[in-house]
């Protein structure tokens, strides 16, 4: 199945004033779209052309010859997931099953926040910070560039994009401020709960 650009789950201005409409115009309309277009061009006529997206990612991970396909396919997955992790008037403390699990696995919400923000702030260069399920336990991991935890048998529950294009128009060099805003104002905990 060729790669597709899903609809954004909200209007491009829905995350204002935290993430600007202009950022989403480029991030969704140009960057995400380019990964879809480039990925489809690269898989056309190959054994990957009719595979589900997750299969393409798993089969090309770690193969230098297939880096182009992997990078574009994984970035399609990562961005589609990232949009769903945010909503207008989101952020703050979670409720429901994820709240209990965060308390038991991290020792408290604040500990989770510290570790999640630290992972995002210390991912040097471009990449992502994730909350994942490792078997039955919550963990925080960071990945470089397009890399995705599903290739390590981890189940993503939440992600924040720390490529500079995700925040540069709104926050410039202040990545920690973007991460704080993401946690305090944007996380869609309903979506995270639905992934548990």
């Amino acid at each position: 199945m060729p790669l597709t650009l899903p609809d954004l789950p909200y209007a491009k201005n829905a995350l204002e004033p935290h993430i600007s409409e202009r950022t989403l115009e480029f991030h969704y309309g140009k960057h995400h779209q380019a990964y879809v277009t480039n990925g489809n061009n690269l898989i056309a006529g190959t054994e990957y052309e009719n595979l589900p997206l997750e299969e393409i990612i798993k089969k090309t991970a770690g193969d230098k010859e297939k880096a182009g396909i992997f990078n574009n396919a994984a970035q399609v997955w990562n961005h589609s997931f990232y949009w769903k992790c945010m909503k207008a008037n989101g952020g703050g403390k979670p409720v429901g099953a994820i709240a209990n699990k965060i308390n038991s696995d991290f020792g408290g919400f604040e500990q989770f926040v510290d570790e999640f923000k630290k992972a995002g702030a210390t991912q040097f260069g471009s990449g992502w910070a994730w909350l994942v399920l490792d078997n039955d336990k919550l963990r925080i991991v960071k990945t470089a560039n397009a890399e995705n935890p599903i290739t390590q048998n981890l189940k993503p529950l939440l992600v924040v994009d720390v490529w500079e294009h995700a925040y540069y128009l709104d926050f410039q060099n202040r990545r920690p401020d973007y991460l704080t805003t993401f946690v305090d104002k944007l996380i869609n905990w309903d979506f995270v709960n639905s992934q548990l």
Binding site: K30, G125, A144, A146, L169, Q172, N173
Partner: protein, 207 residues
């Protein structure tokens, strides 16, 4: 030795309209400054490295204690690369190389246009953050390479080696305020602000 951020060799708006003043101000005053501060912070843990020059540190990362090796690689690299980058831009008497460097470029790449295409392509295809370089390796050999993040071809840990004589920053912070996702447009614009006199000096020094 405490490492220091040098002043830009020109005004923030000197590279307008190709690279805007706001980008230069944040790039030099925030990003480059942070690399210098973080490098100094890492080195505080190992006073025995105080006497080592930045070149010595990044060329011999295997000699840097493991607990700060990544910090020195990233922040020492960031300091070296940005200092180098500022110096290969600015006002030049020509829009193209001349003399020995022009000859070497023609000999190694076929023509200036072919070099420009290869260099721009190296920058455009560096996935994520990094740099594209023109390096001298061997007596007169020039080649175009790229490195991820803040690595550079002088580092013992780098997959590609040589002495850089020209480099372009393709981290998104280098161009996002003005060019957003259009990295190829930024790379085209970069060719209007290369200081070929400085690149020629680098070339002579690398031989």
């Amino acid at each position: 030795m405490t490492h220091e951020l040098s002043a830009l060799p020109y005004a923030y708006d000197a590279l307008e309209p190709y690279i805007d003043a706001r980008t230069m101000e944040i790039h030099h005053g925030k990003h480059h400054a942070a690399y210098v501060n973080n490098l100094n912070a890492a080195l505080e843990k190992h006073p025995e490295l105080e006497s080592k020059s930045l070149d010595d540190l990044i060329k011999n990362l295997h000699n840097v204690p493991e607990d700060i090796r990544t910090a020195v690689r990233n922040n020492g690299g960031g300091h070296w690369n940005h200092t180098f980058f500022w110096n290969v831009m600015g006002k030049s008497s020509d829009k193209r190389p001349k003399g020995d460097l022009a000859e070497a470029i023609n000999k190694n790449f076929g023509s200036f246009e072919q070099f420009q295409e290869k260099f721009s392509n190296a920058g455009a295809t560096r996935f994520g953050s990094g740099w594209a370089w023109l390096v001298v390796n061997g007596q007169t050999g020039l080649s175009v390479v790229s490195t991820p993040n803040q690595d550079n071809p002088l580092m013992d840990v780098s997959e590609v080696n040589g002495t850089p004589i020209l480099g372009v920053d393709v981290w998104e912070h280098a161009y996002y305020l003005k060019y957003q996702n259009r990295r190829p447009d930024y790379l085209n614009a970069f060719f209007n602000v290369i200081n070929w006199d400085a690149v020629s000096e680098n070339y002579a020094g690398a031989l």
